[in-house]
């Protein structure tokens, strides 16, 4: 376990050292990613549902220790992140080389650091460890977001850092300290750590936590996500479709299951109120996404919307809801990363960023647009893609909780996501006539490495539809009260 966290950090140092040898450096990246994946798989095969391995590392304050533990949700997250890192490394090589980007060493090293932090979050045994790695993740991704070094990148970076640090220090830290003060411990426990006597402030505490976890992009603290789109596509893909935002919703799920306990969550007054905030986020973000012409910004708002689905699952606090949230964490990740890979591929090959210019692109870039179609279907939640299962569980969860208004919002959200994703995919297949034609001279498919990566993730969307059991059983192991 400790090794799993340490490997990416060591990898980062190695990558930095190999600055002068691009090929070796790229090999180091892929090798580190592969090594991490192997380690995580080993952990997974050893994983027993009743006996979670725990490692206590050292104490920072008396009574507050830093430690690692493996539990089902974290296991899922770790497998997801490490597997997708391997794929993204391949993609990055293609993207970076084709675009001849500067500072590639810095890029690979920071990605490695970010992954280390992500695994740290996944395997955190208590709130403090999680918080430490959460902050490291924010700091490690900042150089990635501002990679281009332009004024726009700098401003985007400011929004990113400002919002994320602001919510985490201003709200989340306060929530953590209050939790420690009230419960006497920060160690995650099944059924919550408040025991039988929840503090009077639990309702407010829930609000602090939910808004403090800025990476979950709950409105109004969502602005950092579109602002971070100034980053290069592989960054957006891995970090903002998978690692950073998934870390956010992962934390939300963990807090509601292991800090509050699902019973407590459903009893709090603020639960309903927050549920509506999340539902509003789903719809509002989708509406904004409809109006975006820049493809990456559209995808960003789509992510904001999809994240709130998971938050809804966590807040519903029943078995179906939690399972739906956990599964959606995985299915959304796979679907969204496909979409971002496609966006990057389109940018690299055709230098296009606006949707309005992408008419008829499928002729020139058949593989990319096919993958885009697959990813879109998954995110919308239509068969035969993986998104179906997670949406199904979320719907079941809301019916069980009797929240029919919420159900309406979920369905409207899905409709809207069809509205902003399908046209992009469909119009690419339309014949190129009229003023909206893409410049068709000289556009070829994206770089090979990119294509390999996005085909892999698209296949994963399909695969998870056909074989959802592994994912389901893993997540269902979270001992949740029915």
């Amino acid at each position: 376990m400790v090794l799993a966290v340490a490997v990416p950090f060591a990898g980062a140092i190695l990558i930095a050292l190999l600055h002068r040898f691009p090929n070796l450096r790229e090999t180091a990246t892929v090798a580190t990613a592969a090594l991490l994946f192997v380690l995580v798989v080993i952990l997974m095969t050893d994983f027993r549902p009743d006996d979670w391995p725990v490692v206590e590392l050292f104490e920072i304050f008396p009574g507050v220790a830093v430690g690692l533990a493996v539990e089902p949700l974290g296991m899922t997250f770790a497998v997801l992140a490490s597997a997708l890192w391997v794929v993204t490394s391949i993609y990055s090589i293609g993207y970076m080389r084709a675009n001849r980007e500067d500072h590639q060493t810095r890029y690979y090293a920071c990605v490695s650091l970010s992954l280390g932090a992500t695994i740290g979050i996944a395997f955190a045994a208590d709130l403090l460890t999680l918080f430490i790695f959460y902050e490291v993740l924010t700091l490690a991704t900042y150089p990635l977001v501002t990679h281009a070094g332009t004024r726009a990148a700098q401003l985007g970076g400011r929004t990113y850092l400002g919002l994320l640090l602001g919510t985490s220090i201003g709200l989340l830290l306060l929530a953590i300290i209050i939790t420690w003060f009230e419960a006497g411990t920060l160690w995650f426990a099944v059924g919550g750590i408040f025991g039988d006597s929840p503090p009077a402030m639990a309702g407010v505490l829930l609000v602090l936590f939910l808004f403090g976890i800025g990476k979950a992009a709950l409105m109004p603290f969502h602005r950092w996500l579109p602002a971070a789109m100034v980053a290069p596509a592989p960054v957006s893909a891995l970090l903002h479709a998978v690692a950073v935002v998934t870390a956010g919703v992962f934390t939300v799920l963990k807090v509601s299951v292991y800090v509050f306990g699902t019973e407590l969550v459903s009893e709090l007054w603020s639960d309903r109120w927050l549920l509506w905030v999340a539902a509003a986020t789903i719809v509002i973000a989708s509406l904004i996404a409809l109006r975006q012409d820049d493809l990456k910004r559209r995808l960003a708002y789509s992510t904001v919307s999809q994240l709130s689905y998971i938050v809804v699952g966590a807040l519903l606090a029943n078995r179906a809801g939690i399972i739906g949230g956990g599964m959606h964490m995985a299915t959304h990740a796979v679907g969204k990363i496909t979409l971002f890979f496609c966006a990057g591929s389109i940018y690299t090959a055709a230098r296009l960023t606006n949707v309005s210019e992408m008419r008829g692109l499928a002729r020139r870039m058949p593989v990319t647009m096919a993958a885009f179609m697959v990813g879109s279907l998954s995110v919308i939640g239509l068969p035969p893609m993986a998104g179906v299962w997670s949406k199904l569980y979320l719907v079941t969860g809301s019916i069980e909780a009797g929240e029919f208004g919420l159900l309406a919002f979920l369905l409207v959200g899905s409709l809207l996501s069809a509205g902003y994703l399908l046209p992009v995919a469909v119009q690419a297949y339309l014949p190129t006539t009229g003023a909206n034609a893409a410049q068709d001279t000289g556009i070829r498919e994206g770089p090979v490495a990119c294509l390999v990566a996005l085909v892999l993730t698209a296949l994963a969307c399909l695969a998870l539809f056909v074989f959802p059991d592994a994912l389901y059983t893993m997540i269902a192991r979270i001992a949740v009260s029915p």
Partner: protein, 493 residues
């Protein structure tokens, strides 16, 4: 045999080093004397700290063999052992740094005088920390203050002279207030020994003289500590002094003043008033909160980075006093932890700025453009210490903030806890400004600064590394601070 006299040697070693520095005319010779004295003092402080922690009882040393309470007594317990460690550690790091930085900022014929003054200042600060006699504290306070006026006036521009003069006027007023306070206490009790004062003031809280003495002492000490609104001398003094001096003073002078406040208020006056009756909270807390916010806000708008750091110090002193204002064990522990942590953070930040000044000749924000590329080590150290100031976990700043918030929660003051956390966000802004300029703006074409020499980079990194190390391994800081708080509150010897 020497071991028995170590408390006295703690002060005597730097004190004797001062005239030796004056006598050795050449800069290098003077520096060597200062270096040996500083490192010896550090060794003595470490030894004293281990002694106190092992024995779990204070070390008492009668100066000149005259027994207390008529003679002057040096008394080392957990509280001042911590302060001794902080001061000597900072001194031991700054003196090697000063070799190169002063050669750039001060005329060569004055170097030996500079080191002499630095040694006197060190002796004075150590004396305040170690003494157990109230008047002796005043004397050492004046020794350290006078030498710091001299040190500040040696700054590179003529504005350093006015800064030193202003500090002189305000500092002397503060010291005289302390003198009045001590005199009034003597009038009531007939003794100057701190332990004896505690004994004799028991139950005398209603005596008007005692109340007035308390008031004068508090005002005088808060002037030295630069608590809002008595902080006006600090920004100019820190911004215009030589770099090594700013680092040294920022990391030590206010800390020792805080210690003095703690010693008087909690060590002595606690006997006269019960903890709850201390009129402290009502006064110190609002002032501390205002200090935190105004200091941080003004810092955001500064273009001179050292002035920005000086205003940031005003804010950080606010945090320390806030901990005192809570008047609980956790609150005092938080203050003492922040004493240590702020010394490390601010020391590192000012030393980093000294590196910049050496290579660029300016510490204006615009001059720092692109420095992340040309002086990577310095800027990295600045970033690390800056992150600690913000309170990112795994750094010392986080530890302080945590304890402060817990102390606020213990008292049930939720709004204060929220304010503490919100004010950290202000630090993000002013540190962020520097980092953005250093990493994002391209360096100007003509100048090509090189990284500062090793003798300056290493001390900077020692302090910056301490920010991270003590953020993870807090056994030393929290352990000693907690013990010190217990001692100060009179709960244990």
């Amino acid at each position: 045999m020497i071991g028995a006299h170590l408390p006295a040697l703690q002060v005597v070693v730097p004190l004797i080093a001062a005239p030796l520095c004056v006598l050795s005319r050449r800069p290098l010779a003077a520096w060597t004397v200062a270096l040996i004295a500083a490192w010896l003092s550090l060794g003595i402080a470490i030894w004293l700290l281990t002694q106190v922690l092992d024995a779990n009882a204070p070390i008492s040393y009668a100066l000149g063999g005259w027994a207390a309470p008529w003679g002057i007594e040096y008394r080392v317990d957990a509280a001042n052992a911590l302060v001794l460690l902080i001061v000597t550690a900072v001194g031991a790091v700054v003196v090697p740094y000063a070799l190169v930085s002063t050669s750039h900022e001060i005329a060569p014929e004055r170097h030996h005088l500079f080191y002499a003054a630095l040694m006197l200042c060190l002796a004075g600060l150590l004396g305040i920390a170690i003494t157990g006699d109230a008047f002796n504290a005043f004397v050492f306070l004046e020794i350290s203050s006078l030498s710091s006026y001299v040190l500040i006036s040696l700054g590179p521009s003529r504005a350093a002279l006015t800064a030193a003069f202003r500090y002189l006027i305000l500092g002397t007023i503060g010291a005289t207030f302390i003198l009045i306070g001590v005199g009034l206490l003597y009038m009531v009790t007939g003794t100057l020994n701190m332990a004896d004062l505690t004994y004799r003031l028991a139950g005398r809280g209603e005596n008007r003289t005692v109340i007035v003495a308390f008031a004068f002492l508090t005002v005088g000490i808060t002037l030295k500590l630069a608590l809002f609104p008595l902080h006006l001398w600090l920004p100019n003094a820190y911004a215009r002094a030589p770099s090594a001096v700013s680092a040294f003073l920022a990391a030590t002078a206010t800390k020792v003043a805080v210690y003095l406040l703690l010693r008087f208020v909690f060590g002595i006056f606690i006997a006269a008033y019960a903890l709850d009756e201390l009129p402290l909270t009502a006064i110190l807390m609002p002032l501390a909160l205002i200090a935190v916010f105004t200091g941080s806000l003004v810092a955001i708008f500064q273009d001179d980075v050292r002035r920005m750091l000086a205003y940031s110090s005003v804010a950080q002193v606010g945090y320390i006093v806030l901990g005192i204002g809570f008047a609980t064990h956790t609150g005092l522990t938080a203050s003492l932890i922040h004493l240590f942590n702020h010394a490390a953070m601010k020391g590192a930040l000012f030393l980093a700025m000294g590196n910049v000044f050496l290579r660029l000749g300016s510490v204006n924000l615009d001059a720092l453009a692109g420095l992340g590329r040309t002086m990577p080590l310095t800027v990295a150290a600045f970033t690390l210490a800056g992150l600690s100031l913000i309170g990112v976990p795994a750094t010392v700043g986080f530890v302080s903030k945590w304890y402060l918030v817990v102390a606020a929660l213990e008292r049930g003051w939720w709004p204060v806890a929220a304010l503490i956390v919100v004010s950290s966000l202000l630090a993000v802004v002013y540190i962020g400004r520097v980092i953005e300029v250093a990493y994002f703006r391209p360096p100007p074409e003509r100048s090509a600064p090189v990284e500062a020499p090793l003798s300056m980079v290493v001390p900077t990194w020692i302090l910056a590394g301490a920010c991270v190390y003590f953020g993870l391994d807090t056994s030393l800081t929290i352990g000693v601070a907690s013990r010190a708080a217990t001692v100060l509150l009179g709960l244990a010897p």
